[in-house]
Amino acid sequence: MRRHENNVAITADRPVGTGQPTLVLVGNPNVGKSVLFSRLTGKYVTVSNYPGTTVEIARGNADIEGESVVVLDTPGVNELAPRTEDARVTCDVLRDYPEATIVQVADAKNLRRALLLTLQLAELRRPQVLVLNMMDELRKSGGRVDTRKLSELLGIPVVPTIATAGMGIQLLRKSLESAAAPRVPVDAASGRGYEQTTKYLAEANKILAQVYAHVRPQRPTFAQRLGSWAMHPIKGLGILALVLYFTFWFVGLLGAGTAVDFLEHVVFGRYVSPWAIRVADAVLPFPHTNHTEVSQYKFQIPLTPTRGIVIAESQRTVLAPTYSIAPGATLGGWTQTRRLAHDFLVGQYGVVTMAISYALAIVLPIVTTFFLVFSLLEDSGYLPRLAIMVNRVFRWMGLNGKAVLPMILGLGCDTMATMTTRILETRKERVITTLLLSLSIPCSAQLGVLLAMIASISFRAALFWLVLNIAIMIGIGWLAAKLMGGDGSDFILELPPMRRPQLSNVFIKTFARLEWYLKEVVPLFILGTAILFVLDKLAVLDKIARLGEPLVTGWLGLPRETASAFLIGFLRRDYGAVYLLDAATGPKAILTPHQVLVSMVTITLFMPCIATLFMISRELGRKTAMWITLFIFPFAFLVGGLVNHIGRLFGL
């Protein structure tokens, strides 16, 4: 999801000091470094209300007092020690840019922890500026900081800001030139550890006593109360149920139902595809008659899965992508070529009629609605509270509640979620989380497609698929934890305050993710379609089908034509699923409902997409990526076969 940031992985190639003036934004997690980065550079990076949003360096240029300056945004850290992968990234930046000015961003409400970091940064003896961000929240909570006094005590400029409102940024630009190494007693000799932390915190207390005043806060605000309900053992479950239902309604019914229907049946079915077919017929003529089909459409606002308010209904006859050639007609070489090009564009496996319409009519509405809800949840601060509710379950899998973050991000995009596993402490947790992400967390597009397809057989089948998937996730997690041995890490999780989501951020974030998504997905779909098309025309599909026969026909009990679906499923699993759907409900339906279920279960367990595989090998090494792949694919076929045989046994 964060690909759009266009980040540069500094850890990989380590460019050392380029000579250009550089600013490094450092600070505790969730204090607004990324908002400030966007304000300084005008470049959007993901901003969310939980610690651990940024896990990679973002780099941008800012114009400061007429000079072009490189600005680096880093993952948040609580201390300057590389205890997790994301903290390592921050430590590496500080080491690799020894000339850079350090801009420490602090949450003004939480100055004590910020000062701990200030003192640790002071050991580096670099020009430094302290930004006190979130002044608005400080004032609301009844606190006051004497910034001038603080600046005197530390010997560095201290700038109050409200990054989200853009206040104080100008002041920050001005004060950068007076950045200086802090004049505070440091104790680098004792090294990072408990002793030093207590010593520095005691030092911080001394400073705070002189600069910080607090009047008793009023009653807890509504946001605070909502925050504590969200992690209450009973009210928390209620809120979870509400959140889930709202997500289901918005994404599953409104997005995947109403919006997909409209785009697929009206926009594409009645206008784009027939129009493309007509254009193709005109430009690439060959003798044939197009088939037509009847398109029925109901515009309705859904209430529950089965009921809704119908607003309009219509019916129309439209052109279909299939056609027939007059019997006995022979086509010459040229005509054949034209027909080929025609088919490639608007045939059954055509780029327009299949790939584009699939990507834009089915995937786009689903991911749009999903990312909207998702951004709202992220910005509210709810997700870490969810981690508390599920900590127990995650313990069975050798993980702790913290791993819920990458898992939920996986519902947005598995590739980016794989990178977010950096916030986990041990390698064991990273490997298990990555494995489970690849195995059983479909991204929103995949979830939408897979559910729609399974629900096309029956609601019960969809439920079975969901339960099976969760059971597999917990079971495999448990097994992996046992096999890998070693210890999980402690569950210590900082909870951000509940905040009202900023609508501008929600929309910008959704838009940025969509843009990235389309760039990533559409080319893969077109590639997949092209591969299918070529294989189909070369009649290689048949050979592949024969090769896969023992597996596909024997073990999974599926017709051999479906082998190509699994082949294409390597690229993106949902794409394989579309192909299967075509075999199930298309004009030449060859699958029984039982077979649809078996094939869907199998393809769901596939690797999410080829990009995820690359990311795993970048994050965990090629060897681990290989093991994960070697496990996932056979396992997917194993489970599919079991569902097939057991299902048959019980006559389901």
């Binding site: 090294g191 992690m231 508390i388 900590n391 210890d487």
Partner: protein
């Protein structure tokens, strides 16, 4: 939770605490597994890991530390929800965990409010709200105020 613990080492030079498998020279050293040195990932200082035999002896005779009985302190878990307290000491099994609590401001003398106990413990220190597991919460010794 599995009972096996990752081994933690203290660098004698800079005092940095790290997990044993995290040693900076574990990868790419020509001596491979015959090398008995470990290398601190923080300052790159190399030092011998404690000899195997002592490790074994220690393991044989190691008794779990009895919880420090302090008349004035109770585990955080014994507080009621909403009660506020002062932190007396962190009675953690290994220093790594002590420090990972300390960086959030959980050090002796700080004011800790227990906000809830289930499904996980949630405490507030200053402006920080932290969720903890029971196993960690009971290592935090506090005094009621």
């Amino acid at each position: 939770m599995s009972t096996k613990r990752a081994e933690y080492l203290d660098c004698p030079l800079c005092g940095f605490e790290f997990e044993k498998h995290d040693t900076a020279c574990a990868h790419g050293c020509p001596l491979g597994r015959f090398c008995k040195l470990v290398c601190c990932p923080n300052c790159q200082y190399e030092f011998p890991d404690r000899p195997e035999s002592i490790g074994l002896l220690q393991r044989l005779f190691h008794r779990p530390k009895p919880p420090v009985a302090r008349p004035d302190a109770i585990p955080l878990t014994e507080l009621d929800e909403g009660e506020s307290s002062e932190l007396v000491c962190l009675n953690c099994e290994h220093p790594h965990r002590r420090n990972s609590l300390a960086v959030y401001g959980l050090v002796p003398g700080s004011r800790v409010v227990l906000q809830q106990k289930r499904p996980a413990y949630v405490v507030r220190v200053g402006e920080t709200e932290l969720a903890l597991e029971a196993a960690i919460a009971c290592e935090i010794l506090v005094r009621r105020v």
